[in-house]
Symmetry: C2
Subunit: 147 residues, 2 copies
DNA sequence: CACGCTATGTCAGAATGCTGACATGGAGCA
DNA sequence: TGCTCCATGTCAGCATTCTGACATAGCGTG
């Protein structure tokens, strides 16, 4: 017995997911504004902090944006002296990106702010519930075509 | 004992949430493309299906976009004859929007496609897990400033 | 070796969304 | 009544992102 439309949107997992995502996005924007960082810029720094030497294309995939968008992000961050890219590729066309000292400092500050946002957002859930939530969400991306 | 940065991003609830959101968005785009509908347009139809007579501003809030963006969405959908807005407001400035017959038909088709996407996306989870996931996510938005 | 295939970086144009601003209509209050 | 305050609809300008396209570098296979 299927219903005609989605029905009460609050009962749709997708809609609630979008709600939480929107809240997180807004909160992150506010938290990063004092640092003059956008969310994609922060994501880029965080990815490079965890995995130095990533290429533009790889960063784009992991940050869920196009190569072109990430290219602008990298250029902007490079102008600000937060990261470095070699003038020519050591292998293939990929230019491995590295954080500068300033970049690492900025990352630490931004990361603290973002972790505070996450902590606040998921505070209604117990530690066990948060872990379970992460597991459940991870299970959904596992079967996703992108990976 | 707190770590310096977020650390392994796969262990961050926020990052995994963003992953799932990106997957859902992509899948919805593909599912709605044959109908020549964007995700915000579909969201608008779905909201009006559930609650006829919503104003532009109210639709914007519930679809997580600005009034200006929703205004363009409404204009486009009105041009296509999927919804109607009175020429002048019956009360205040708010223009109550209603789906047309074509709009309701389009909504039914789109809704079926989107529900298929959701079903596929969350298929790794059991029915109980999906309900629990929705509950947990809902708990997070409950304390959010936006409501 | 030559060819096709894939991936990467980048340029240009279009689409989409947002910020700032303004006028209007209604509610609340002195 | 007159004033303030707030919400709504809408216009203009800007920022960000995406789509399409192209050249280049490596890799595999014949």
């Amino acid at each position: 017995m299927e219903q005609e439309t989605v029905g009460d949107l609050e009962l749709s997992v997708g809609y609630v997911l979008k709600q939480v995502h929107a809240s997180m996005r807004t909160a992150m924007d506010e938290a990063l504004r004092p640092l003059d960082l956008t969310v994609p810029q922060y994501a880029c720094l965080e990815l490079l902090g965890q995995t130095p030497g990533l290429s533009n294309a790889e960063l784009a995939r992991r940050a869920f944006v196009t190569r072109q968008s990430m290219n602008l992000v990298l250029r902007r961050l490079q102008e600000r002296g937060l990261l470095t890219r070699p003038d020519q590729a050591p292998h293939g066309r990929a230019l491995p990106t590295e954080l500068t000292r300033d970049g690492r400092t900025m990352l630490r500050t931004a990361s603290v702010a973002v972790r505070a946002v996450e902590k606040q957002l998921f505070s209604p859930l117990s530690r066990e519930q948060q872990l379970r939530l992460r597991e459940d969400l991870a299970a959904c991306v596992a079967t996703s075509p992108t990976s």
